[in-house]
């Protein structure tokens, strides 16, 4: 049913439809509305879950780890400092092959403390073994959660899934979103039935010490699952989803007017909406610009990204994260795809929107102009030059 909803409410409704047995989370802006919504469903008896009000994000992640290990579907959500506090547990969850679902309401990292959106938090977890999807709008968040459970819990996969949604822009923004019926979801998402679990009738030991004779193989296994099985499964699950729900939202990548594009911009998350508007404008002026939206960031769909970008002459990567002391992480990865390629497009990198700074149409237009010029690896967009004096380094 189509509803006009706040993003966080839409998430809560999607999670409710997935019927997790254990939910555990800790308050942090801008994630909080999500778990508040879920707490209310539990309080009203609409959702039969154990809601564990933990004392930290570290324990929230640990509690859902314990629940998943018992074969019970779980859910947690967080942002920024909370995600980073969880990070030790998040690496552990992936290593233990437990398909936890986490929604990250993307927010900048301290210091300076800042509650607004960028992608630095979830990007910092890109090496953890989690599957990561970046949503553009409410509908995608809802759909990615339902499909994420199905992908992560596939007995061949058994990996955790992080659905990333831009803080405030999506968590607090209102949009029309189609919330599926329980019957549809039940048809799509079977009960969680893991191949291993803590069970008194079949006592297993989970989380053993892996010495140098076995450790590398466990890492290889995750890499293999991500790069082979997950990349193949995503389109399959997406088709199955489409056949029941009538739309295809989960993709490896999404393209917008790239077929004949000379300039292709690359981005993730809600900024794709702004970029599409700018592209329409540019097209009306006869300029061949397109967008490659990365939906699945982990595993990184190298082949798809390569095949789409290779036809352009110029590529501009716009990202809301920076590997301080190097370049934007997405720029670095995309550049690496073309290393040694003869007909590589010229690829430039742009850092924008850190700590919630608006990425306007003007920002995007400027990027398009810069992309046409000399190659640059890491330009910070929309800097206020007046604030670059030494006095402002520490605020």
């Amino acid at each position: 049913m189509k509803k006009f909803l706040e993003g966080s409410q839409a998430v809560a409704k999607a999670v409710k439809l997935a019927k997790p047995g254990v939910i555990s989370a800790y308050p942090i802006t801008p994630q909080t509305h999500i778990v508040e919504g879920l707490a209310q469903f539990v309080a009203d008896g609409e959702l039969k879950s154990e809601f564990v009000n933990v004392e930290s994000e570290h324990s929230a992640a640990s509690a859902v780890l314990g629940a998943e290990a018992c074969g019970v579907r779980s859910f947690t959500a967080t942002s920024s400092q909370g995600l980073i506090l969880m990070s030790e547990v998040l690496f552990n969850i992936a290593g233990m092959r437990l398909p936890v679902m986490l929604v990250c309401a993307n927010r900048a990292l301290s210091a300076p403390i800042n509650i607004w959106n960028d992608h630095q938090d979830s990007i910092a977890l890109r090496d953890s073994g989690w599957i990561q999807f970046y949503a553009e709008n409410h509908q995608e968040v809802v759909d990615f959660i339902l499909q994420g459970y199905k992908i992560g819990e596939n007995p061949k996969i058994m990996l955790p899934v992080m659905v990333c949604m831009d803080g405030y822009i999506l968590t607090h923004g209102m949009e029309v979103v189609d919330i599926p019926s329980q019957e549809q979801v039940d048809k799509f998402l079977p009960p969680y039935n893991p191949p291993y679990k803590l069970d008194i009738d079949n006592p297993l030991s989970l989380g053993l010490l892996g010495d140098p004779t076995v450790y590398m193989e466990t890492r290889y296994a995750i890499q293999d699952t991500l790069n082979n099985d997950v990349l193949k499964l995503i389109p399959q699950v997406s088709s199955e989803f489409e056949s029941i729900f009538g739309r295809r939202t989960l993709k490896l990548v999404e393209t917008y007017k790239t077929e004949d594009a000379e300039v292709i911009l690359v981005a993730m998350g809600s900024v794709a909406g702004t970029i599409k508007d700018v592209i329409d404008e540019e097209r009306s002026k006869g300029k061949k610009v397109g967008l490659l939206k990365i939906v699945t960031y982990r595993p990184f769909p190298k082949e798809e990204v390569f095949n789409i970008l290779k036809q352009a002459s110029r590529v501009g990567v716009i990202e809301k994260a920076i590997s301080l002391g190097s370049d934007g992480p997405l720029y670095t990865e995309i550049s690496a795809l073309f290393s040694g390629e003869k007909n590589s497009p010229q690829i430039s990198g742009f850092i924008a929107g850190l700590g919630g700074r608006d990425i306007t149409e003007k920002t995007i237009q400027t990027v398009i102009e810069l992309v046409k010029g000399k190659k640059t690896s890491c330009i910070f967009m929309d800097l206020n030059k007046e604030l670059l004096w030494e006095d402002f380094r520490v605020i």
Partner: protein, 294 residues
Amino acid sequence: MLSKHFSEHNFVSGHTACAGCGQALAARLVVDAAGKNTIATNATGCLEVFSTKAPQSSWNIPWIHSLFENSAAVGSGVESALRYLGKIDKVRVISQGGDGGTSDIGLQALSGMLERGHDVLYVCYDNEAYMNTGIQRSSLTPFSANTTTSPPGKVSTGNPKLKKPLVEICSAHHIPYSASASVGYPQDLQRKVKKALSIRGPKFLQIHCPCPLGWRYEPGLTLEIARLAVGSGLYPLIEYEYGKLTKVFKIPKPKPVEEYLKLQGRFRHIVNSQEEVAKIQKIADKNIDYYQLK
């Protein structure tokens, strides 16, 4: 992931603990007393390392290790899952960890688990230092003990702090049961495990586990040393129910602390100093008086 053993014990031999390891003995006593219908969560530390080197495991009950400081939080998740599955009446949950994993880095998760009222028994294996990383001081290391981070020196007589009152800290959460036990008294220990598991809600049990390597004594002396700790009043065995002290292990004729100290290398730097031994005797006397151990 692995297991399946054929033994009556829930914790079986074949592990790589040091000879005379008090913790290995205590762990077996705990899970044997708990019975087959138990799920255990384990903090990182000696016990986890020596019992579960892939592809082997000494545990004959479902067992999970995640990280160092989150055993109580993982236990909270396990308990919540069992509640959701409607199995909480059939299955017991034990969360366990060492003194460092419990009283220092894991204290927040433990406090959260107790405060939320999870039906979990938390067992702290107290060998009085971070042993797995090479005998560093924890907040349960006793006064004067020589550890690698509280070494005696020209201006130091070893660990300058008293043991953190962890049994009381847990009891202050007004949980149904918070107690201490010693591997030197196996029947008392197992009685306490069974008693704890007969009660619904959060429980805490701290078990004194001598460590031959870390305390520097002959492996054959583990039980004797454990008993001397209790018998001197340095390790009072106490039971709190809902915040009230309800039972103590009586020691009608307390032994002088010197008998306990002189067997262990970690106190060698002070055993010949009357002044320093007197300070430790004072700790024991205070315990005897406060808990009315005599």
